[in-house]
Symmetry: C3
Amino acid sequence: MRHLIDITDLSVEELDAVMDRADDIIAHPEQYAHACEGKKIAALFFEPSTRTRLSFEAAMSELGGKVLSVTGASSSSQAKGESVSDTIIMASCYVDIIAMRHPKEGAAFVAAGKAGVPFINAGDGGHLHPTQTLADLLTIRRECGRLTGLTVGMCGDLKYGRTVHSLTHAMQRYPGTRFVFISPEELKIPAYVTEELEEKGIPYEVTTSLSDALPSLDILYMTRVQRERFDDPEVYERLKDSYILNAAMLENAKDSLRILHPLPRVNEISTDVDGDIRACYFKEALYGKYMRMALILFLLEQAGENGDHLKRLERIRTESVKPEGIRGEVCENPRCISGTEQELPPLYRPTGKTDAEGRTICRCIYCETEKAIRLNV
Amino acid sequence: MRHLIDITDLSVEELDAVMDRADDIIAHPEQYAHACEGKKIAALFFEPSTRTRLSFEAAMSELGGKVLSVTGASSSSQAKGESVSDTIIMASCYVDIIAMRHPKEGAAFVAAGKAGVPFINAGDGGHLHPTQTLADLLTIRRECGRLTGLTVGMCGDLKYGRTVHSLTHAMQRYPGTRFVFISPEELKIPAYVTEELEEKGIPYEVTTSLSDALPSLDILYMTRVQRERFDDPEVYERLKDSYILNAAMLENAKDSLRILHPLPRVNEISTDVDGDIRACYFKEALYGKYMRMALILFLLEQAGENGDHLKRLERIRTESVKPEGIRGEVCENPRCISGTEQELPPLYRPTGKTDAEGRTICRCIYCETEKAIRLNV
Amino acid sequence: MRHLIDITDLSVEELDAVMDRADDIIAHPEQYAHACEGKKIAALFFEPSTRTRLSFEAAMSELGGKVLSVTGASSSSQAKGESVSDTIIMASCYVDIIAMRHPKEGAAFVAAGKAGVPFINAGDGGHLHPTQTLADLLTIRRECGRLTGLTVGMCGDLKYGRTVHSLTHAMQRYPGTRFVFISPEELKIPAYVTEELEEKGIPYEVTTSLSDALPSLDILYMTRVQRERFDDPEVYERLKDSYILNAAMLENAKDSLRILHPLPRVNEISTDVDGDIRACYFKEALYGKYMRMALILFLLEQAGENGDHLKRLERIRTESVKPEGIRGEVCENPRCISGTEQELPPLYRPTGKTDAEGRTICRCIYCETEKAIRLNV
């Protein structure tokens, strides 16, 4: 069963095919208006969202399908302590495909392990948000005519910004990409991202100055400094207005620059930019809907003849795979799903690196937070 | 693009046509069951409501269309600080028509300025609620057989009651209307309402006695004294039971009296009135659904061939009109949208009147709260 | 108008017919995919739930119908103090059938008295939850091939567990049933349940030992000890882990044992039981969807040609039946609907028993809580 937890769950060729399908849907929407007739999606949103949920609902509706929605944690079984696993098994009885947003990191990994239908990660805590990246990629491809040879600037919260990490991960697969990371020192792009770029020989720059970087950019990806990703409100207050883009600054930018933002924006892009033809953040929201339509079709096709609901439950019962990894202590990330999901063992995957004390640097298999573990020889 | 922010956005002739359509839908519902097939409405309810939202959802469903719903502020991007403008631009990418209820006054005005699709004000704070007035008007027309020559009594919270102001505004357009305003002194009908009636030569009475007024009424419009419109809970407690209608009081009323209430009622109409044939408040809820169906059809027809979503976004980008008015200080109404919506300048529209000190009396262009501004000669 | 407030509102023959229909839907889903085209259900969930609501929504969707949903109390008119009666009358204007879950006990009784369309109790406080019992019955019938001659074990919270009381009530109607009630002393099955079994000559056992009971059981019905049913959190903490089922314990159980749980489970069934072929709790959730489909069809057929919405309102107005009973003081149950619903008189129904002081033992007509009332000779 194919799922989408991380953007790299789709190969470059598959991504191209999904983008081609989205282009076709934009050009001939009437041909897709009944593609999912009789099918249902569960939109399980256990964390606040309007855009992503409405985008999935609009997407399924425009394919002729139906939507079952759960919003918020307090009005659901989550409040009663139900595990993500059980929620997903139950939802597999009711719908043909699931999209879930959850506040705990790694929740998507757990859900995909139990789903009897295709599962789409609509965001797990601050960890991953692959469908936003799909929207970003289609926007770049349509607006620039290509995905290769672009200078991509990312600005704002590069430390916690999951869409930044995901887009970097996706764009580095295209030849000729050059990154420019623009942020205050405290919100710098994490080392594990830049180390991966160095290993692959992909050029990048790190700077604190947006105006210095602007003239060379083909893409400017602005991000919001998100209050909810900070444990300390004072640090948030100090950093939130770090980089604001306005119309005056754009005088030095290329005519072919395209400005993206995963939205919602609060003040990091001034409204005087909205009328500029280079502003693409609303188009991004629209393209996101078409990419979700194409993704839903792709995953349902991959699932093929999924059998009736009884067969799906039987498959979940007999084919459930135990997650593998090195046993360790409880994950230190307070937002990791392993802290709340019952009977989920703390497991880790070695990265191949060691620290100064000779301990193996591993990653939690759920949320990917690093942990140094002393492995027996 | 035609929107409905205030009841007077529709001319008397247009209102008649919408009511005629509603009558036809009631008579031949099967002819409308697929009228909106393939179309979607966004029901954005950022303030508590059950009836209005269900009414819109039922309306669109009975036209064969689909509904995307957002309920509550805490489970949406509003909690993340997203502006009403951006929310509406984004929703324009997903649906063909939008209905929005928002706690801030003037939010509907701002939304309509940005919507790429027809926009319906489902209530902005304590300011306007035009679709309730549509329900009221159809009820009166069907129950009394006409909208002219009626004595209309309004009872309860006439000071803050937005449905009272709106119905007064609508009914004064019909010849032969006479108003009777029944309330405690503290909740008296505001001067700006009665002044407008005087200017137009429309007869009205102000009284504190419901039983005195009852015998002469053709329509009795009861309203709930709403806790949420009061800043001081003590004043609310004192006034909330001011006027309660029960079966005994109806002995002196006309057989042709019709009793309306926008609902929900708490105790201002006793349940012993419900069985009386003159009680029309539940029929009002039903007629409200049919009026919303007729309104949706009207606005979609007015929008005509709205183009695909990309064209709509382009139109929003190029045709966005800057609101006009006199620059002033921040609006004093703590519930005005200009206090929270980013980059919204405080603007005022002069009323043509001046106060004792020679300052021009103006109204906030968003929420219409009065403000005296000293204009330069 | 037929409603489902309690499982016994359906006769044994009607239950059989509904289960037969559910079997047919499972076998031939495509024959039912448009059975409710053009019809709508209101899913009014004023108390947290995910499964039951999604189950109803999936059920109606798979019948080709539409769903209007209300979730949570704070985002609805309930927060404005609207009565259940008025909410139900209003909803009757918008849909063809209503399912409601409400935190107050007796709310379903009140709602069914006012509904102009078929009404389904989706749970009223800790009182009744008949559609869960429908799911349980179909599961037992399909998994055991029969409903007669079974030894049924119920384990966990037998004192407050509404699904336990309801299933006991339903299963006692089938010849040859024997009950085994397994719980800690504080959560023992209430006397009124066992007294009824004794009156009908139905064998039962009460024990505190799950392992002792296990070998003789055909059905094991596990329940969660629910935090929300306890007023005292300390008692809850002490009792919540009383009985936990794991794989090791199943070695002494029959191969033909079937394990049910109304879900959500927290920890009372260990996940190492999930892979056992005897574990049926997820199938229960699936069967619940099919039973709800069959129930919706049954109730709509019973309602017959229900007339248009105006006729329904008229019927509510003229046919409203005043509830009957003995006048008494306010019900002592803090969760009884009579405490909050306006103008609802406290009424009681005598049970035919008297207490030591000669007072008649009665039950509140809404929530069925016992009360001793001194009746005049």
